[in-house]
């Protein structure tokens, strides 16, 4: 039998990256199409179909694709739909699994949100290999999470479980969050949150800082990182502030599911000890005594460029959604 493959697709607001992945987690080949430029969803699907078909053909893999796994913001594993995505233009409900399965002649398709896909990738190929209980926290523009319990992703009753970026960390005078509420973890510990902290600290504190050389409205978490690495006290304090809140949040997460590890992924996770030192110190100080010393705080072992595609592809092996062409359509196809 020829070698089996799966396809992983990572749909971001700007680009859609896809790859052919073998059973050992090697990305055999990858390519991408622009997400943003397609105002019409069917145009986007056509473009994706064309690009992916070309890649499959170029790798002589036409008969070897077992399934397609897709990671996308607000994707619902149960329904196969994307619901109210903030950064995609195709309407409130997008029947993603159906359209992709249909485009590829009924191949099984599974979709989930990007943080869940990253968790599956980490469990299958990364820092959480062999773990049955862990939590993936993605520190990007927002804060996302994928929760694994008993070796299974937690989808909850509606497919939307695992919104740990939106537990409340400040119940009074909390920052406004993109979700419409105030005080969410994401408002403090995302890349955007770090930039907001920088603006706050620069306003309420008087000490000199390298960050004062920048236009305050344009400061990014990367600027804060660079300043901290250059020894800037205020920039270091911003990371301490961020790590402290994450450590407190993690202590509550452990009270819920007592995971073996919490794995950090995404841009901010690469800040090293600047973030990890205050995070771990606060976590160990905050966690309930019965859990002390049990939960590891780990950094993702997957290359960021690969992780999303790998994680999504891992879902492909067990994908069950399969588009069934109506009878008339099938006859048409035969007639062609």
């Amino acid at each position: 039998m020829s070698k089996p493959y799966v396809v992983g697709i990572d749909i971001g607001g700007t680009n859609t990256v896809f790859g052919i992945v073998d059973a050992r987690g090697h990305v055999v080949a990858a390519d991408s199409v622009k997400t943003k430029k397609h105002v019409d969803f069917d145009d986007y699907i056509n473009d994706l179909h064309e690009g992916l078909s070309r890649l499959i053909k170029a790798n002589d893999a036409e008969d070897q694709i077992q399934g397609i796994g897709i990671g996308a913001p607000n994707a619902n594993y149960y329904t196969g739909e994307i619901i109210n995505p903030p950064n995609l233009p195709w309407g409130p409900i997008i029947p993603l699994a159906e359209k992709v399965s249909k485009a590829f002649g009924g191949i099984p398709v599974a979709i989930t949100n990007d943080a869940n896909a990253a968790a599956v990738g980490e469990m299958t190929y990364g820092a959480a290999r062999g773990m049955k209980d862990f939590i993936m926290i993605t520190l990007g523009t927002g804060v996302g999470s994928g929760i694994v319990i008993n070796g299974q992703l937690v989808y909850g009753s509606d497919g939307f479980a695992g919104e740990l970026g939106h537990v409340i960390m400040k119940r009074n005078n909390g920052r406004v969050c993109g979700c419409g509420r105030t005080g969410c973890l994401e408002a403090y510990c995302s890349a955007t949150g770090v930039a907001r902290t920088a603006r706050e600290f620069l306003e309420i504190r008087n000490e000199p800082s390298l960050l004062r050389n920048l236009d305050i409205e344009d400061i990014t978490s990367k600027d804060v990182y660079d300043a901290a690495m250059a020894g800037d006290r205020l920039a270091k304090d911003i990371f301490t502030f961020t790590g402290t809140i994450l450590g407190e949040a993690f202590a509550d997460m452990v009270a819920f599911s007592s995971p073996q590890a919490i794995v950090l992924f995404g841009g901010l996770a690469k800040s090293g000890e600047l973030l990890l030192k205050p995070l771990k110190e606060t976590f160990e100080k905050s966690v309930m005594p019965v859990f002390a010393g049990k939960t590891k705080i780990l950094i993702s072992e997957l290359k960021e460029s690969d992780a999303a595609v790998l994680g999504a592809s891992a879902l492909g092996w067990e994908a069950r959604y399969r588009y069934e062409a109506p009878r008339a359509e099938k006859i048409d196809e035969v007639a062609e």
Copy 2:
């Protein structure tokens, strides 16, 4: 074949209640022994064995017991041990499953903590029948929880998951909690927490209240309930305060596992609208928009006297721990 039964045992600090339960969840017969009076664990096991054997014999069920399920504070499902129980005198590590299985000739035994047992009871026979995703919150002397995801109890990596009474609700100037930290949900929303709130309110507020007729140190949550039912403003405010914190906590729990329902159990859960109204109002106001209107807040449908035994007994059907007598001991038994 004769009718199969299981035994459910609920170990409390004062009493140990046990019952014979049939496959439909009827408690066929029940009895109890004192927990407290046994300083020695083996004496306690002997007494329990004697009492339970008598009950089994009186019901002609000697050959029909399929397994024994036990709910006990700090019981670990994985190891079969009770670890550091605050209200039991038998040492830091108590090999409960082994001792009970041994006493009953190697019958399968499963143990879990009391809140988990209540969750299994509710799922099998109560308000959570047919649900695969729900959270049980027990509002008693403390606040306990049993979390069900995908139809399974969440035990976590170490068997101690589900300590939702110990998520932090006040990060600054929080009340000291029995766990050694400050600001835990339990410090506010347990029966003890309600009594603490009463003492605080009576000290910082000046208005008249029926509660001022009582010795402030002896006030219980029941006193607060009675005063509130008699129309006492301050007592009603205590329930509003308590329900508000629960509602905020539940919103965070939903962000984790998106359950179909949160089921309330225990003394305080019987406070009716006094507690439920502020709880539900705050919950709906606090929950992330994507989850709005999805999660039901329910009251346990099990009689408190039955629930613990029923829940524990449900574990008995799938109990796997089985004491294997060493060979020499087996020969001795035959020799007897």
